[in-house]
Symmetry: C2
Subunit: 339 residues, 2 copies
DNA sequence: TTGTACGCGTTATCAG
DNA sequence: CTGATAACGCGTACAA
């Protein structure tokens, strides 16, 4: 546990001032001659000097810490997203403080407070369902907040999301055109705005095709494969005539397909299943799963780009971006099997 | 973007010195009278004062940041673990800087450096396969490093892991006793020490039962359901006579079960499948999956406890803890179906 | 019980 | 191009 070298130590060894060392460290071009620069770099490596972010942050009142607050870490879509955001930020030299609110508003607010204490440069937030615009006001003034995936109702912050309504509408319409009349909607939690958007697409697709939808075909369930299994079994207890399942998420669809195997229904032949998310497992599954995808990579890119833009121009008006999902039609919803 | 209040501002409003404010904030009992305490707290709320961790960290040379470096964020076992560790640390007042090395040593070392720059109080590390004890030496002297799940060969750091050998041995032995003679081992990557431990358990269980194991029954695959599907199909291309699959992870087992459905084999009747991890989906799956579990909660508890202990006593000798897995025998490996 | 004064390691400012 | 010096906001002896 030897004490670590400081700028002053480096300066002394290189026989320059601490200001010069600082200039070298920050790569301020033209502020320091090539020769002294080398001398300083040499001293840095001799002393095994490590930059102290803490001191720099205090002095410049600007940390390089980005807060990342999310409601759930059990859904692979979110964790892959986090991984990608994390990597992109790291490449830009930012560190990420992670927090998981577990769908608990109080906990989320606590974490936002933590970010403030740490002087987070910005906060990326995927909020709990009960988060309103007002809940964010307390933080927005200090550091920019960028919300993603889950709308908070009013948009005073930047928001990057997915056009869920359209994707659900498109999927359902296509199923109707393929001849399905008994189409179920499975998954999501009751209070979810996102679910409401997808469900509305499902409903409108019915109505625009002059088809009645049935309340008993709508089921809630948690975000897990086993919840999808349970919901699917429940669905077929209610009604044996369903021929298509529009699932709220891929993991729910995986569960549904597992349950359908068990119920003796051949997915892609006797019954269609669709998902949402575009997980990489969807393609390799048997049969391959039809799903609405916004590539996680693309989403992460948008989020990080928006963040960087916002850091440059803090006072620009908030931006709302809705990404269009691409629907991969695969074997789980084969056309023509349902005439 | 109004400037935030400082201790000095609070002191001025409460008509006390900054030292008194500091004492109130840090809850140093007996150092300040109840009356002034209230005055200070009042001023804090009036000014909407927020504690500045950065300044505190610089002054005391002790951050409250814990670095969490992990190799993979796509496996639910790890993400659930992270979520739990994160929550426990937050409860103790620590913030977590997350980094994902993506199985890349260079990237991992970069992140460890980042942690050092941020003066991390400690680092929790689930290392890449090619990490050796020497790779950690550079960081260990500065802040304690606690490794988990993946052994690094030599143990100069604290380590919390799972007794993989024993669990795999127990599972395989039981399958042998149930009458299986053609037992495959699926999953894991070639260089994985952890996989070697589990595989050794599988091999030794064969040998102790005077049973030959077959090299063609051993397959590598990535950590995903679709990789499990591919590997299982490959296995049955090689040999139709396998009656049991010992999978390296639950997600691989889920994939295997999906593939087996497709191949027309009834899991739990004609063929046995076992997993590793004890994911919550294992129980709800159809049929329910036999799996070796070390409860994530328990593991997280051990890791955090070890961390806290280490912070208290930095100079105690490193501790290695191996947790014993509990095997849940479920329908996917029903006894008696293979006579 | 309260106040004063200084230092943590860096960066910004300005003068040379 | 380089150097001296003063901040940043908080913690902690030590003095009162």
């Amino acid at each position: 546990m030897t004490k670590r070298a400081t700028v002053a130590d480096v300066a002394a060894l290189a026989k320059v001032s601490s200001a010069t060392v600082s200039n070298v460290i920050s790569n301020r071009l033209g502020k320091v001659s090539a020769k002294t620069r080398l001398r300083v770099l040499d001293a840095i490596s001799v002393l095994n000097y490590t930059y102290n972010e803490t001191a720099a942050a205090l002095r410049s009142n600007k940390s390089n810490i980005i807060g990342l607050v999310i409601h759930d870490l059990s859904n692979p879509y979110y964790t892959e997203l986090i991984a990608k955001i994390n990597r992109k930020l790291a490449k830009k030299g930012y560190a990420t403080i992670l927090a998981c609110s577990d769908e608990n508003l109080e906990s989320q607010q606590g974490y936002l407070h933590l970010m403030k204490r740490h002087n987070a440069l910005a906060v990326l937030l995927c909020p709990t369902w009960d988060t309103t615009s007002e809940h964010l006001d307390a933080w927005r003034d200090l550091s920019p907040t960028i919300t993603f995936l889950r709308p908070t109702g009013s948009h005073d912050s930047d928001f990057i999301g997915i056009d869920n309504y359209q994707a659900a509408y498109d999927i359902t319409s296509r199923l109707v055109r393929d001849g399905h009349t008994q189409i179920a909607f499975i998954g999501g939690s009751q209070s979810s705005r996102l679910r409401r958007q997808r469900l509305q697409g499902w409903k409108d697709a019915h109505e625009d095709a002059a088809l009645r939808w049935d309340e008993t075909h709508i089921l809630y369930c948690a975000s897990s494969m086993s919840a999808g299994i349970k919901a699917t079994r429940e669905l077929f207890k209610r009604d044996q005539n369903v021929t298509a399942l529009v699932c709220y998420q891929d993991i729910v669809a995986f569960g549904a397909m597992n349950a359908l195997h068990f119920l003796g229904k051949k997915v892609g032949e006797e019954i269609a299943v669709t998902g949402f998310d575009g997980l990489s497992d969807a393609e390799g599954w048997l049969p391959s799963l039809t799903t609405a995808e916004v590539q996680i990579e693309v989403l992460a890119e948008h989020i990080v780009d928006r963040l960087l833009l916002r850091l440059e121009k803090p006072d620009d008006p908030p931006n709302v971006t809705l990404l269009h999902a691409h629907i991969h039609w695969r074997n789980s919803s084969l056309y023509g099997g349902f005439e």
